[in-house]
């Protein structure tokens, strides 16, 4: 009998890929669970039993988990949702007779630029600069407490930079490029602790069934050690940008763009007044509007504002180890980095980015970078 797996947060990009791979893999019965029914748009391309439950609503979660043997907690959201969802999910899983929860934590619990020697045994701080990191630390700790007093097993996974179709690091980076807002602090020579989304889903599959793992946390990543430039270059080239097109703020350079000087401020304000669907379209249009006129930014081009989080990430000097996941879960990445990049470009073409023909790129070979400036719209 196939295990019935509830994917909580199925509307997110990791949750969506979990649904795709678990369902198409055939080894699991998948139950997508989302906060709002409209978030089922991608999951219900398949004939699945989609459910609606807010991640802090214990009663709704228990109903959604009924009959499930496993839960994957893949909810994204603000810190209060990250921390506030842990106990309701655990209790609801217990009430529904769930055997194991796989919790998608984050390598961010170790900070964006961890110290040399960092591994799963390293102490976690809840006094980090980013609220997101602290929330993930608090969530892990709370889960451990709940596990000690409860019967549902818990496996925590700590992925780093999850890239691939529909991810911020792929689609979001493409948007930033087209908007003239992309940058690589220090030129992107820092280590990117990357994990292609398929590799993460593979780690989840292992964590669902591994004999060991209960109560443990695992860092997971791609097989290769890659830099930020190596992650971003294929996307930039495919969209017709040279490396020189990217802003390269010096390490430590942090600037904030005054809102009044931002030429798109009016559009942003207008977007806030629109209903959701036009608002998203306007956001995308803004990205196209701001697209540079040439692939390489001319000298003196204003540089985009730099976030502290990205600066820390881009300057990371440490490759996080995944020996524990290898030895205890049997984890080995199933997609190499080169293939992952090729798949990411295939998705960009599918999504309508100008890596191929303007109506979706399906006539283009997405592995072939285009040597032309970006064309936008239609």
């Amino acid at each position: 009998m196939r295990p019935v797996v509830a994917v909580l947060g199925a509307g997110g990009f990791i949750g969506n890929r979990l649904v795709e791979m678990l369902h198409l893999g055939g080894g699991h019965v998948v139950r997508p669970v989302v906060r709002r029914p409209e978030a089922l748009a991608l999951a219900l391309r398949f004939a699945l039993d989609g459910r609606v439950a807010e991640a802090r609503d214990e009663a709704a979660l228990a109903e959604a988990f009924a009959g499930c043997s496993h839960v994957v907690h893949a909810v994204a959201g603000p810190p209060e949702v990250i921390t506030g969802s842990v106990a309701p999910v655990y209790r609801a899983a217990a009430a529904a007779g769930v055997r194991r929860i796989v919790y998608l934590s984050s390598a961010s619990v170790h900070g964006q630029s961890p110290a040399p020697g960092t591994d799963e045994t390293s102490p976690l701080s809840s006094r980090q600069k980013l609220a997101y990191n602290n929330a993930k630390v608090a969530a892990e700790r709370r889960l451990q407490q709940l596990r000690q007093g409860g019967g549902v097993e818990v496996v925590r996974l700590r992925p780093g930079i999850v890239h691939g179709p529909r991810s911020y690091w792929t689609g979001g980076f493409a948007d930033e490029l087209l908007a003239g807002e992309a940058y690589l602090v220090g030129g992107g020579t820092g280590i990117c602790n990357s994990i292609y989304v398929d590799n993460l889903v593979h780690a989840v599959r292992l964590a669902l069934k591994a004999p060991r793992g209960d109560g443990e946390a695992y860092i997971v990543g791609d097989a290769e050690t890659v830099t930020w430039a190596e992650l971003c270059d294929p996307i930039a080239r495919a969209l017709g940008y040279s490396r020189e097109a990217l802003a390269v703020p010096a390490p430590g350079e942090m600037r904030r763009m005054p809102a009044g000087l931002d030429p798109m401020t009016a559009l942003r304000r207008a977007a806030a007044l629109l209903p959701p669907r036009p608002r998203r379209a306007l956001r995308a249009a803004r990205a196209a509007w701001r697209a540079p006129a040439a692939p390489a930014a001319p000298p003196g081009t204003p540089q985009p504002p730099v976030s502290q989080e990205k600066a820390d990430l881009h300057l990371c000097a440490v490759r996080l180890p995944m020996d524990k996941a290898r030895s205890e879960l049997g984890y080995a990445p199933i997609v190499d980095f080169e293939t992952a990049c090729r798949h990411a470009l295939a998705w960009l073409a599918f999504a309508g980015y100008p890596v191929g023909d303007g109506a979706g790129g399906r006539d283009a070979d997405p592995s072939e970078p285009l040597q032309r400036k970006p064309q936008h719209g239609g």
């Binding site: 409209e38 699945l48 599918f350 309508g352 979706g360 719209g377 239609g378």
Partner: protein, 359 residues
């Protein structure tokens, strides 16, 4: 003469209107539009019907004079015009009941899920001597009308190509998971936004011929669709998505120029002629007051009321709704699975198996 009397439907006593279906489309667009028309004395909403009491309760504050009806039949009693805004699978049957009960009907798109059902409705309306109008709202947008006029005047020369991208992450506030089912909605993004897009395309450039259709339904309903069509000499590439945001834009290129329209922008588009870069064209809203979707919704209801009173045809004939149904039927019949190049070989095989009837 007051401004109101210059607008369609402004003459005569207020029509009694019943609203069938109180979901998001009614709550966000139809109800505010009907309330505005009530304020102008054009109509009075008498009844609201929806099997979900919560849905009715959410709309009632917007339409103070309307009372909940316990059944469809009760909702139709005494009304002149039925506004049908229920799930698409119910449109054909509810429209037929309303027409046969002697009401005029304004039906949200799609008119039906099958072209034969839409044609049967048109026949029923003719037999009953009642108006049947369909909510293809975009035809009422000033920008869409201006583009139609420019194309009809041959401003671009012979249209050569159309590129159309529309959509983004789906965030329409649907009532529940059942919305994403062929049984309730007749399909996914194609049946939803596609109905509007294909109708506008046909209105602008003539009946489209389908060359190729692909989507990503794998046992459920599609979130992404890709269409290759021909309208006369124009090659049309249309990409619809409930998945990821890209600029929602329609680009029409002709021998002499280019029109670019941000889909749904009511009052603006770009026009470039004779090699000049496209410049922004901004329209005023004229006498219609069509500045957003609520006011445009009001315009189309007012047009239906004027058509009822004057006996003229509505601005958007029901046949347009039927033709959109027919093209969408053809698409689904001819569908193939979209290429998803990031799937593994095993996933592709399984996706094809789940897609079932796809070629």
């Amino acid at each position: 003469m007051s401004p109101d009397t210059e607008r369609p439907g402004a003459r005569g006593p207020a029509l009694g209107v019943t609203v069938i279906g109180c979901g998001a489309a009614t709550r966000l667009y139809a109800a505010p539009a009907l309330a505005a028309l009530e304020g102008r004395g054009l109509l009075r909403v008498t009844r609201l019907f929806d099997p979900a009491p919560d849905a009715v309760a959410a709309v009632r504050p917007l339409l103070a004079s309307a009372m909940p009806a316990p059944s469809l039949e009760a909702a139709l009693e005494g009304a002149d015009l039925a506004v049908i805004a229920s799930p698409p699978a119910l449109h054909a049957s509810q429209c037929a009941i309303a027409l046969k009960s002697g009401l005029h009907v304004f039906c949200e798109k799609p008119l039906a899920l099958a072209a034969a059902d839409a044609q049967a409705l048109i026949a029923t309306a003719e037999a009953c001597g009642r108006l049947l109008a369909v909510g293809l709202i975009r035809r009422h947008l000033p920008a869409a009308r201006a583009i139609k006029a420019l194309l009809a005047a041959g401003t671009l020369g012979t249209p050569r190509s159309v590129c159309w991208f529309e959509g983004g992450p789906f965030d329409w506030p649907v009532a529940g998971p059942g919305y994403f089912s062929a049984a309730q909605s007749g399909g996914g993004i194609l049946q939803d936004i596609g109905t509007h897009a294909l109708d506008l395309l046909a209105w602008w450039l003539g009946p489209p011929q389908l060359r190729d259709y692909a989507d990503d339904a794998m046992g459920g309903v599609e979130a992404n669709a890709s269409l290759h069509l021909a309208c006369g000499a124009a090659e049309v590439r249309m990409r619809l998505s409930r998945d990821w945001a890209r600029p929602n834009r329609v680009t029409i290129r002709g021998a002499r120029g280019t029109i670019r329209w941000d889909a749904n922008a009511p009052l603006s588009f770009e026009l470039g002629l004779d090699g000049a870069p496209p410049g922004l064209v901004t329209l005023d809203d004229g006498a219609g007051g069509t500045t957003d979707f609520v006011s445009t919704y009001a315009v189309q209801i007012a047009d239906a009321i004027d058509a009822i009173r004057s006996g003229r045809a509505p601005a958007v004939p029901a046949a347009a709704g039927r033709d959109a149904c027919a093209l969408i039927e053809t698409c689904y019949r001819e569908r193939r699975l979209l290429e998803m190049g990031w799937f593994s070989e095993q996933e592709r095989a399984q996706a094809a198996a789940h897609a079932g009837g796809a070629r």
